[in-house]
Amino acid sequence: MALQPFLALGAILFGIGLYGALTKRNLIIVLISVEMMLNAANINLVAFSHFAVTPNVDGQVYALFNIAIAAAEVAVGLAILLSFFRIRNSSDVRDVNLMKW
């Protein structure tokens, strides 16, 4: 195997996540999509860790940090979402529209 397929996989996953984050109407799915983008970055990191010019474990550690941070982000995101849901009784991203113009 070589590096490119993994990077390509990461790119595609990043794209899927980005697309989801921008089009899905359910806020939770939006959050999930963002997680997929982070996963894509992790694939990159781990792949580089494995294949890079000087293979080292730093990429894996970095990925681990990212996983932790992503989990925290998800937690906060869901909390804010719940708060929002409680007030507006909606989890539709298009209802996040009080403030504009």
């Binding site: 980005l18 984050a21 921008l22 089009t23 939006v30 991203v93 298009r94 996040v96 529209n97 009080l98 403030m99 504009k100 113009w101």
Partner: protein, 650 residues
Amino acid sequence: MIGLTWLVPVLPLAAYIILLASGRRMGEAVAAGISVTAVFVSFLLSIGIVGDVAAHGPAAPTVYPWLQFGSGSAGTITVGYQVTSLNALMLLVVSLVSMLVFLFSRSYMRGDDRFSRFYQYLNLFVFSMLGLVVSPNLLQFYIFWELVGVCSYLLVGFWYFKPEAAAAAKKAFIVTRIGDVGLFIGIILLYLSRGTFDFNTLFGAASAPSGMMIHAAAPLAYAGAKFFSLWYIPFAGWHAGAFVTLVALLVFIGAIGKSAQFPLHVWLPDAMEGPTPVSALIHAATMVAAGVYLVARMFPLFEASATASETVAVIGGFTAILAASIGLTQRDIKRVIAYSTVSQLGYMMLAMGVGAYVSGMFHLVTHAFFKALLFLAAGSVIHALDTQDLFEMGGLRKYLPVTHATFLAGALALSGIPPFAGFWSKDDILTAAFTSGHYVLYAMGLIAAFFTAAYIFRVYFLTFSGVYKGDRHPHEGGPAMTIPLIALGVLATIGGFINTPFAPILGNFLQDQGPIGFNPPANWALMAVSALVGLGGIWLAYTLYRTEEGRAERFAQRAGGLYTLSFNKFYVDELYSLIIVLPVMKIAGIFQFLDRWIIDGIVRLAGEIGYTGGVGVKYSSTGQVQTYGLVTVFGLAVMVLIVIGIGGVI
């Protein structure tokens, strides 16, 4: 006495300041007393000065530095006074006529709300006029030149509540202003070429007035001529003659404006809206003659340019006949005399143009006497009748005997009937025109003389002969009015003898430093012709207005279009308003429109575009976070394409 010349203008100024300071509180008698006294002393001083000049010749100018803007004499503007024979003569004439008019006004303006204000303005005017006369340099001359214009403006508009008076004042100022700008440019050009404003230096030493220094001045000393640009007209490369002509014509434009010559004559008849003493003093005897005086003062300049001289003569001759022909048909007594003034000033210009320096000045003097007389007499009539319409008068001979007698003297003088003053001077001019070979101009002058006699006797017959048509009880206005009339009447009668061909006293006086211009020889035949022409004019007036009722009307009908043209002053005013005033107003309107809607419109549009951009930015913030993300993605896409472009991938 010459050392006291400064006092001559300063006395009226002092009177002005006293009157100004005391405001309305001052009584009529006091105000008039102070003013008359001041001018009277000025008059006495002037007599002394004339005596001095006659005895010892002119004095060197006395000057003081006034404004410094550069180094050396060229960088310093001075003020002061100077007495030459010409100045002295003018001083005398001005102070004399002023004094008499001041006296006359005492009665004429009696009871006016702003009596003291009237004298105030008059004093200011006399100060300015005298200051103009004694100016040793062009700049100071111009300053007083403008000041007399302002006084004229103030006095014409004295009865400001009459819309006609207000309009006339404005018109007088603006029309003369046009001329003044010409003079202004002329002065600057003269200064730039000669580096001085002083009359003496401009034309070389005072003792050699005819040696034209201007000729020698080429190439012109243009200080800043080294900067060449698209807009720069290199005068330095001009033939000096062309430059001289240009300057002379510019100066003459000033004279045209002030002396109401064609085509700027339109203001003077309107200026009759002012009180009659004003018309007598300013618009007959003194200020309007300043244009002639200017040409006389700058005579060497005009002598140096044949073109300019010809122009002066032609304009003068044309104005003389044009104004006279208008005078034939006017109904307003003052307007007739005003057109007469325009016409007579034309004669003076004609004289100057053909080079008859002395004749022109001579006519200026006699004209001052008889025209002031005519105006004052007309004033007396108006004062008695309270109307200016000739056709509401008549038969005043028995009500106003003094006025009648003096008016008759003035009319005869104006008509050029020997031995009245006007005969000698006018004949002098006609002779000069003829002898110098300007036959056409001579003919024009002759015809104008015929008209002159006709219109003034038309006035005379309509006013004083026949029966009074009104219902008032006219009477003389008291000694303050009659004394000036009598004094002027005497002058109008005998004033011509100061320069008869047999005894050219004035000529000698004016040419005490050497001959100036062209002195026409006595010509008996021409004298007879002009006298006859004058008589013919009187006969015509008599025939039309004294022999048969309605003859004049029939004659007018027969004349048809000509009569209408003359009655409507050849439509010059209408023409001007059509081709100048209206377009200027229209252009101003268009510019204002441009300003408001195009230039400011563009400004506001720019503002609107910015603001609209802001509104665009505002509404780009849709509140939809996914839209923001979408924009971000496109930003990302563009950014990625750019960077990988830079990186050399695509």
